[in-house]
Amino acid sequence: MAFYVVQFLTGLASAASLFLVASGLSIIFGVTRIVNFAHGAFYMLGAYLAFTLTERLEGALGFWGGIVAAALVVAVVGVLVEMVLLRRIYHSPELFQLLATFGLTLMVQDIVVLIWGPSDLLGRRAPGFKGAVDFFGQSVPSYDLFLIVLGPVVLGVLWLLFQRTRWGILVRAATQDRDMVAALGVNQKWLFTSVFAVGVFLAALGGALQIPRDAVHHAMDLRIIVEVFVVVVIGGLGSIIGAFVAAVLVSELNAFGILIFPKISIILVFLVMAVVLIVRPWGLFGKPEAPARRTPGLTVNPWRPWTSNERLAAVAALIVAAGLPFFGGNYALTVGSEIAIFVIFAVSLHFLMSVGGLASFGHAAYFGLGAYGVAFLAKLAGLPMIACLLLGPLLGLVGAAVFGFFAVQLSGVYFAMLTLAFAQIVWSIAFQWVAVTGGDNGILGVWPEKWAASPSHFYWLSLGIAALAVLILRIIVFSPFGFALRATRDSPLRSEAIGINGKRIQWTAFVIAGTVAGLAGALFAYLKGSVFPDNMGISLSVDALVMVLLGGVETVFGGVVGAIVYKALNIWLVSQTDWSKLVLGAFIVLIVVAFPKGIVGTLESILNRRRKSSSSNSPLLTSRIETAE
């Protein structure tokens, strides 16, 4: 019996550290609607700074003072980031801020290695909490007890802050309806900055408090960030109590789960999230979001099919691209094939995000399923390459059909997180089912047949399929189905009123996007000759998201440009510099500031404005568009 009590307490201690970080993320999202990918980076910075300070400062006061000071310093860094970077892009398309914080995360990963060196660092134990307390023959670390108390204390302080202060009232009001708060004359700038500061402080404090029990190292951020997102979503976005309950739920399920299934930790949080979201689409304590109040059709420059000149330009670009084998070497061709494959992958996600308005955080699942489909068919069934390329993506289709059915019942960030959960579940199957998938050692020897083996042939094959995929998706965008999909995106209520079955339309779009992603994955398997669980991992999903955002969500063509720019830059930087993450991150941040609507989006607005001012035949429309902007 004592054992179970102690296991329960241990779970509570894990929950407390998770809660600190999650509460910060939840507050920031609730008010600013920013999906703060850099939250893990702030957590890590807190730990590193606390390590340095507690090593320098003596005694108990030095230790605790160092922890708090570290969190404060990181909070100041957070304020600077908010004021210099995020303030510029609050009005960018949804999720664009994710791109900026992603860039920051990349930079911080390299910066900590530059400053603190590559080795894992071991911090001091907390003075006064070094040992363990005996509980009926079981030891409970006293630091765990400290954390168990700290969690509810922080919860209580936050509750008082939100319920009893004017600032708290404003924050809650903004969480519920920030347009209304703005209309009532509250200075949003400082509200956002202060909320961001509090959120970052909590993240850094969470990191700093880890040093007595963890090693400080440069991968801490990624280790925590996904888990924290999951906790926030299970609890319900913007709900502090929800975050607390979810943290306890996840930690306790883990603590007891490993007694029965020792391998469960790897997937547990995602299973819990999937179940919770299917049963309660807004998390345990979340409330349904009010329907968006924006006026449809005005925020975006209206889309139109290509003019004949533009068609010619696209064909010319394709011909130029097809000429690469005549002057590029084998390496250039292989990189070209890889970029073409990622164009397919990015346009498939772009289709889902910009036309369907559904941002998937787990799109790599269907890419990976396509790749595994090919690997199974080629290695186990021994089918020829053409058959594999045609049939392999069907695994992506099946996956998208099953998961999409559940996912499209949700919207916004909840949709995104459910897709992430599904992707992680698929990933862990590939990772764990060693007998079939080879585990993380993957499936080797999936090389193309002779006719496609030479780099130039494979390049033409990839380029051809990419061109075809872009063309087909464009045709779908401007087909009646595409219009119905856009109607559902822009106004679910109105489109339902005119008889469009929104869920079925979205589900179909999800399946289309998943199948096209599967096609990209199938080609990728042949390009690399092997398939690994990596092909469906979170980082690939994030890459796809970055490509789409970089190109511009509110465009028809952004995914193509985003994929080319991001992939080419990534490959080139990794090959050229040891600090590729630092440079790539800085580059992304610069692009975010310079092109607040993505590369294509910003260029299009500039072109449109010019066209308008030169012809100026429709003053009414121009003014309406500008107000909307």
């Binding site: 071991l122 670390p141 930690s251 390496y331 050692n441 000759g529 092997s530 090959s575």
Partner: protein, 399 residues
């Protein structure tokens, strides 16, 4: 546009001619590793091979040609490693590929080498598959494999009186196969052993408290640990606080390597049986020479990564010198049964499975001046811990 194209074409041509001229006087090795993902291991590793390159060129290079190592980062992803391998082979025209740390990346590059018929010397990946079940004629491996390290540890572990054993290992191929081999060899030597618990925390994400608690509840007499890096630190801290290691024998993979032992500082648990690299306690002329040269150049002590990096390039140079060619078939012929000196004594690249006989040190952990060290350590030759040739014939596919 046209001018630009012509210009670019000319530039490529000129660069190509310059390359051709250089190629007469130098030999290139393409090196790939997880520099950004695992700097704690790969930074000392890089220093190691840099020292080797310097020494080789100072003593006349490869049959009079200068040795150049072109190094690429793989981001910790198999797909990126293949992109890098392709660049090295297609644009840099390297004579051979070398390096890699993670098992899946080693396998990806090995498969690439097999497909493109390029010689590949795997430095670090521990998986048995790379030389056995997925072995191919183009791939050789330097470090002692999972199986060899398990066999070394089993030799010491079987002498322990403990009968109830528990295992803690990261939940991926490395951890799984380490536990599987250890269990198999151990049960062969000691049929009386029972395995009472196993814990599989996700790599890099151990929730150490519940894991320690769960293992303690099974009340084992001895524990096998396979976690390393930050996971190991968390496990040791929780285990120390909760008294998990008190009066229990612990056998642990890799923990004696300075990369993993040093971060534990004054919390290093004492008496664990580990594989590792006690650079401070090796008194052989070969190692002294290496140690002096390394410390003189970098003002730092070597980690195991330094040895691996150094010996990878030293072996590669020996292979290139003996083959006196960059033809992969000749390189393979030169490597099979080639013996080369190393800081750990002479090693041989076996013909039968392309595994080198580099060994490892096995010893016990101890605390000295607030730092973790390995004591009572002795060198175990790799050749003594491999299965019989007949067994390997069964494990390895025919070329």
């Amino acid at each position: 546009m046209r001018n630009y194209l012509i210009g670019a074409g000319l530039a490529v041509l000129v660069a190509g001619m310059a390359d051709a001229a250089m190629a007469q006087s130098e030999i290139k090795i393409g090196e790939i590793n997880s520099y950004s993902l695992l700097p704690a291991f790969t930074e000392p590793y890089r220093k190691g091979w840099q020292l080797a390159v310097e020494e080789i060129n100072a003593s006349g290079g490869i049959n009079g040609k200068k040795l150049v190592v072109i190094s690429k980062d793989d981001n910790g992803k198999p797909a990126d490693a293949q992109t890098a391998a392709n660049e090295l082979v297609s644009s840099e025209n390297v004579a051979m590929l070398a390096g890699t740390f993670l098992s899946n990346i080693g396998l990806a590059v090995s498969d690439f080498a097999n497909q493109k018929k390029v010689f590949f010397l795997a430095a670090e990946p521990l998986t048995d598959a790379i030389t056995w079940s997925k072995g191919n004629r183009y791939t050789f491996r330097l470090r002692p494999s999972n199986y060899m390290q398990a066999a070394m540890l089993v030799e010491a572990a079987a002498k322990l009186p403990a009968k109830r054993w528990a295992t803690i290992a990261p939940n991926y191929e490395y951890g799984q196969s380490a536990v599987a081999v250890f269990k198999k060899l151990m049960s062969e030597k000691r049929p009386d052993i029972v395995w009472v618990d196993e814990q599989w925390p996700p790599q890099g994400k151990i929730d150490a408290g519940p894991v320690v608690q769960a293992v303690a509840a099974a009340n084992p007499e001895a524990i096998l640990n396979v976690t390393f890096g930050a996971d190991l630190v968390k496990l040791v801290r929780e285990g120390n606080t909760r008294g998990l290691f008190k009066d229990r024998a612990v056998v642990s993979f890799l923990t004696g390597e300075p990369e993993y032992l040093d971060p534990l500082k004054d919390e290093t648990p004492e008496g664990w049986i580990v594989t590792g690299y006690p650079w401070y306690a090796i008194n052989t002329p070969e190692h002294d020479k290496f140690l002096k040269a390394y410390q003189a150049k970098f003002k730092d002590y070597p980690r195991l990564g330094s040895i691996v990096g150094y010996q990878t390039i030293k072996s590669a140079a020996a292979i290139l010198t003996k083959a006196n060619s960059t033809d992969p078939e000749k390189l393979i012929a030169a490597t099979e049964d080639l013996s080369v000196p190393s800081p750990f004594g002479e090693i041989t690249f076996r013909k039968i499975d392309h595994q080198s006989t580099l060994g490892a040190y096995v010893g016990k952990t101890a605390l000295k001046d607030g730092k973790g060290v390995m004591v009572e350590s002795s060198y175990k030759k790799g050749s003594d811990y491999l299965p019989s040739d007949a067994e390997i014939e069964k494990l390895r596919p025919k070329d």
